[in-house]
Symmetry: C2
Subunit: 206 residues, 2 copies
DNA sequence: TAGATTGTTAATCGATTAACAATC
DNA sequence: TAGATTGTTAATCGATTAACAATC
């Protein structure tokens, strides 16, 4: 229970940090709980409560100073993150993830990108080089990766999941449509743009 | 309140349908609330309650027949969906969405894909042809699109949002990192793979 | 000062969980 | 029959919302 609470708070803090970082990039210097609410969909009172539980760093009348806000949230999340993940599949989704600057912002390192297609191996993706899937276990261990992202076609997904589990990751993020079976103790989350969009569309236009 | 309840239920039903459809593709014929729970992350009791509120179509002892389950959920969602959306941006995310079969499965039509890059206009993406952004308002009206997906770089996102609003869509799904400002009455949801993954990672490994 | 927004309390609502009779 | 799973109830917990004093 204690753990569950902390996790849902951490997930929301992560969203606040993303919004605050982007707001800073767009030249804003202060942001209110109401604005954070607009951009994240999280209730404004909830935003204030989440933040105030870690100290009073808002200013009544003017909101939160973005620079301080980012720093504080990074501190709070930092204790529990600074983690490394690997991505399997250098296709559209894999590439979009690797090229996103959001991970670095939250102290999460994408340590390696794998693909099984010889044509893709060796290609540069941002700062990374696509490596052969055969190196998966070795690289996961070397970087101490805690999570693996599956961004391969559905028919290859279970095989990749098995290899990730064997390599020792505790969490899998599945961007394929496949239903993955993993041993107890390993968590799987299916997260693909179409799934997210459909759920959201049902909520919006229901 | 009534409306809010229905919407959250609709979003969950959408996830159940996605899992059931995929299970059918993988050759399964029956599925239990526990299995649906494993694959969606929604509590098994919640799954049973959501489904039983629309009638008793499970079989005690053996679970839900997938074919019947899909049919029933499609019926339930069908009443409120059968909608059309447009996608702006034929890059990695736009392409991933267009090529996903999940939309058709839920009676949602991706009616048009736009891009501003002359090199991309005219390209075939699945069954669609990439069209110039200049046609946006005309196409939104012709297809009665209720939602627009923004899958363009952050610096172009606000302009696209303005055009979507002017064209009359009520919901925007924002896959860029930009913070969008829209008039009251238009909903915006930011949904990008990196954001989703980061939130999920905080939940998993916090 | 006046206006705005935080931090916090209290009330309500929805989700989660355990439990179990009904029944396939 | 025995085993499994649904449909449903009851208890608990977290999220949402309204409200407002404190204060920048």
């Amino acid at each position: 229970m204690e753990n569950r609470l902390r996790k849902s708070v951490a997930a929301r803090l992560s969203r606040y940090l993303q919004v605050a970082s982007q707001a800073a990039k767009e030249g804003m210097t202060r942001i209110s709980s109401h604005q954070i609410s607009l951009y994240t969909g999280v209730n404004a009172t909830q935003v204030r409560r989440d933040l105030s539980s870690f100290g009073r760093f808002g200013k009544r009348g003017s909101g939160y100073e973005i620079e301080i806000l980012c720093e504080r949230i990074r501190d709070i999340l930092g204790a529990r993150s600074s983690r490394s993940v690997v991505i399997v599949g250098a296709g559209r989704i894999g590439e979009a993830l690797v090229r996103s600057g959001l991970f670095a912002e939250q102290g999460i390192e994408i340590s390696t990108v794998f693909d099984s297609d010889p044509a893709k191996i060796g290609r540069e993706l941002g700062a990374l080089t696509v490596r052969p899937v055969a190196e998966l276990a070795e690289q996961v261990k070397r970087h101490g990766a805690v999570a693996g992202v599956i961004a391969v076609p559905a028919q290859a997904a279970q095989g990749v999941a098995d290899e990730l589990v064997r390599a020792g990751v505790g969490a899998i993020f599945n961007y394929s449509e496949a239903l993955l079976d993993v041993p107890e103790g390993v968590s799987v989350q299916t997260l693909n743009p179409a799934v997210e969009l459909l759920s959201a569309l049902c909520v919006q236009t229901g």
